[in-house]
């Protein structure tokens, strides 16, 4: 099952190719605009085909990720899903406190919910690998329910960081080795200690 490393790697490749194409296109345009040649405008068929392509790309992206990025469907339906385990995390005075067991022990493939509660400011809850790459994140807003349902499919040890700015005092909010995933066949190679 795809994780954030796979998704972001795909993005890196697709967006780089796209960027090179549009840079080349504008370069080609700039080269030819100073030269004489055909001057007619675009036919309506070309314009409407172009618009149709934009519509397909703009909306198609969301249908594509709904069907290929694993966390989208269960994030949207999380209130209907019964989790295997719920972890409570409290934020107060720029400190992240894990209520209960630490590290949070998770069995491979379990549906776990991280319930983060802020008692003062807006913070962020981010799960990070040992190499600093992000697994997932959500905002932690005071007065709101902040619940992230996640399924881990690789063994590893993960850190938690606040991903939202909460003032200078919150610049380094981190709990190292906060999550431990066990029982999978595969190891997350960026999360091994």
């Amino acid at each position: 099952m795809a994780d954030s490393v796979d998704v972001l790697q795909t993005l890196k490749i697709v967006y780089t190719i796209y960027a090179l194409i549009v840079i080349s296109l504008i370069g080609w345009f700039a080269y030819n605009i100073v030269r004489d040649g055909k001057k007619e405008g675009a036919k309506p068929a070309i314009f409407y085909t172009y618009i149709a392509i934009l519509v397909v790309i703009g909306t198609g992206l969301h249908f594509l990720t709904y069907n290929t990025v694993p966390w989208v469907p269960y994030d949207l339906d999380r209130h209907k899903i019964k989790p295997d385990k719920v972890f409570h995390i409290t934020y107060r005075d720029h400190t992240i406190t894990i209520e209960g067991e630490k590290p949070m022990l998770i069995h491979c493939g379990d549906k776990v919910v991280f319930e983060a509660k802020s008692e003062d400011l807006t913070y962020g809850f981010g799960i990070f690998r040992q190499n600093g790459s992000m697994v997932a994140q959500m905002q932690v807003v005071p007065g709101s329910r902040n619940d992230l349902l996640w399924i881990f499919n690789k063994n590893g040890i993960y850190n938690i960081k606040s991903t939202e700015y909460s003032g200078p005092k919150g610049a380094f909010m981190e709990v190292r080795d906060a999550i431990r995933v066990i029982g999978c066949r595969e190891y997350d190679r960026y999360s091994i200690k």
């Binding site: 405008g41 314009f47 618009i51 519509v55 962020g124 700015y165």
Partner: protein
């Protein structure tokens, strides 16, 4: 001619201001101050970049984040708003072929904007007030972290900016709608309907279509100004809310921050704030591209009615897309995330795509064109949005946002490429094309070689910085954080080199402008105009 003499007098005599109208001078006042604030924002960006590579000894967290707080405010309000205000306060009467409603209000606007930005900057510099531009509730009123005087100073600065903005909006609409003294009565309601796109909407259902009363760029200015007014209402209300809490604290009556729901506040605030990024910037830029394309090509705009309709759709879309900023807020209802955050936001790809298409085809029909400064910067601006808008659509997706939100991808690949390459290069193009009109053709560019160097350094620096920030973001680097142990140094050093190219580009441009105008000419911009008129430019027969 010696260097000092040329510096003082400018290239080929520099600016001669005798025949300049008050509006020409005011427009240039806005632009000059806007450029200086751009330099300040660029310098702040470089300080933060250097600190991310190797922590600077004189900068602690509170200082770092106070720079991060004022950096976008100086960049947007002190620079982009100022340049746009100057250009549009001049172009509105110029294109409507009527005098501006009030020269005094226009003059007051730049003073309030410049003064407000400076006071707001002081709040960061002197008092380290650092709630960031997002002002997430209740951080702005967290008195454990921030100094009350700093907070009040910040709000005073914001008030100056907002009052300046409201004066601008009034002056723009009034100039479009009013009847100058001695003129035949103007059809104010019809002009308003045409400006806002209501006539176009009604035409859609009519058999006999009514003609558009205002030129296309005025339609863009009017619709973007609606978003600007809406945005100013929301920012002002947030400022007032924060001020109430400050005053409560000052007089010993601490108010409970839980009286305001943080998520609701975030929704309203982002709805208003987003009207800049996804509203007026896109509308103003599209309108400016159309105007530039017409002026550069000397031809009518291709598919003009589609362009008008797209500007109207863009305005309506901009009111409904705010939720893409709250896709990682789990308290945000799914319907808002999917409909507003994903689906309506995708429309921006279409409306901006239409603007790119129409501008490029309009230019293409006039080939061969000379690769002038205005054309090359216009193409740079178009490229910037072609890169940045799809990056924005990608992050406005439930799957991607979960791993991109608040990373350097957002602020690099999307925001900085949109602002520095897309918006700023469009503004440079507008500056180059307006320069002869604003100066009655008296200023000649000092060095074309320097102009070319400015272009390439800015383009490569801007795209490169966005790219390396984006790569760092995809590797997990957050945007509102400090890294002290060189975690992302490869990317940050490369982004720093590109940032240095941007800064060098600006210094080169500034030098070229100073040498072209001459110091004497630049000072003359701030002296009262010898000609007293509300017209944008003097009619040819009256020119000496």
């Amino acid at each position: 001619m010696g260097f000092v003499k040329r510096l003082m007098e400018g290239y080929e005599g520099g600016l001669r201001d005798e025949a300049m109208t008050p509006m020409q001078k005011i427009a240039l006042r806005f632009v000059v101050i806007g450029l200086l604030f751009y330099g300040l924002a660029a310098l702040e960006g470089m300080i933060m970049r250097l600190h991310e590579v190797k922590p600077l000894p004189m900068i602690d967290e509170s200082h770092f984040f106070s720079i991060m707080t004022v950096h976008p405010m100086v960049g947007i309000f002190g620079s982009s708003y100022m340049i746009v205000f100057g250009a549009f306060l001049f172009l509105t009467p110029y294109l409507m072929k009527k005098p501006i409603y009030s020269v005094k209000l226009a003059d007051l606007s730049w003073k309030l904007m410049a003064g407000g930005t400076f006071i707001m900057w002081l709040a960061g510099f002197l008092f380290h007030y650092a709630p960031l531009y997002t002002l997430y509730w209740p951080l702005p009123v967290d008195f454990k972290q921030f100094n009350l005087i700093g907070g009040i100073t910040y709000i005073v600065g914001v008030v100056g900016i907002m009052v300046g903005t409201f004066l601008f909006t009034y002056n723009i609409f009034k100039t479009i709608l009013y009847t100058p003294e001695g003129w035949e009565r103007q059809p104010s309601w019809e002009l308003l309907k045409s400006t806002l796109g209501l006539e176009g909407l009604l035409n859609f259902f009519r058999r006999e279509k009514k003609e558009h009363l205002v030129p296309l760029p005025i339609a863009a200015i009017g619709r973007g100004t609606i978003d600007m007014g809406l945005n100013a209402i929301v920012i002002s209300s947030a400022g007032l809310l924060i001020l109430i809490y400050f005053l409560g604290e000052l007089f010993g009556a601490s108010l409970k921050d839980t009286w305001v729901d943080a998520l609701l506040y975030k929704n309203i605030f982002w709805w208003g704030l987003d009207l800049i990024a996804d509203g007026l910037v896109l509308i103003f830029v599209a309108g400016t591209w159309y105007l530039l394309a017409m002026l550069i090509s000397g031809k009518d705009l291709f598919m003009q009615n589609i362009a008008r309709a797209a500007l109207f759709i863009e305005m309506v879309v901009s009111w409904t897309v705010w939720s893409h900023h709250l896709m990682s807020d789990q308290g945000q209802p799914n319907i808002l995330k999917v409909v507003s955050g994903e689906m309506v936001t995708a429309f921006e790809l279409i409306t901006q795509g239409i603007a790119v298409f129409i501008t490029l085809v309009t230019l293409w029909r006039a080939r061969p064109l000379k690769m002038s400064n205005e054309l090359k910067f216009l193409l740079g601006g178009i490229l910037g949005f072609m890169l940045a808008v799809p990056a924005g659509i990608i992050q406005a997706d439930l799957g991607m946002n979960r791993v991109l939100h608040n990373t350097q991808w957002i602020i690099g690949t999307h925001v900085h490429v949109a602002i520095l390459v897309g918006l700023t290069m469009t503004l440079y193009s507008a500056i180059y094309i307006l320069l002869p009109i604003l100066t009655n053709n008296t200023v000649k560019l000092y060095s074309q070689k320097l102009a070319n160097l400015h272009f390439w350094l800015h383009l490569i620096g801007g795209i490169g910085m966005g790219a390396f920030m984006g790569m760092a973001g995809m590797d997990g680097m957050l945007r509102r954080a400090i890294y002290l142990n060189g975690e992302y140094n490869t990317y940050m050093i490369l982004a720093g080199i590109c940032g240095a190219m941007l800064l060098a580009a600006f210094v080169i441009f500034l030098y070229n402008i100073v040498m072209s105008f001459g110091v004497r000419g630049l000072i003359a911009i701030y002296r009262p105009a010898a000609v007293q008129t509300n017209e944008a430019v003097l009619p040819p027969k009256e020119e000496s």
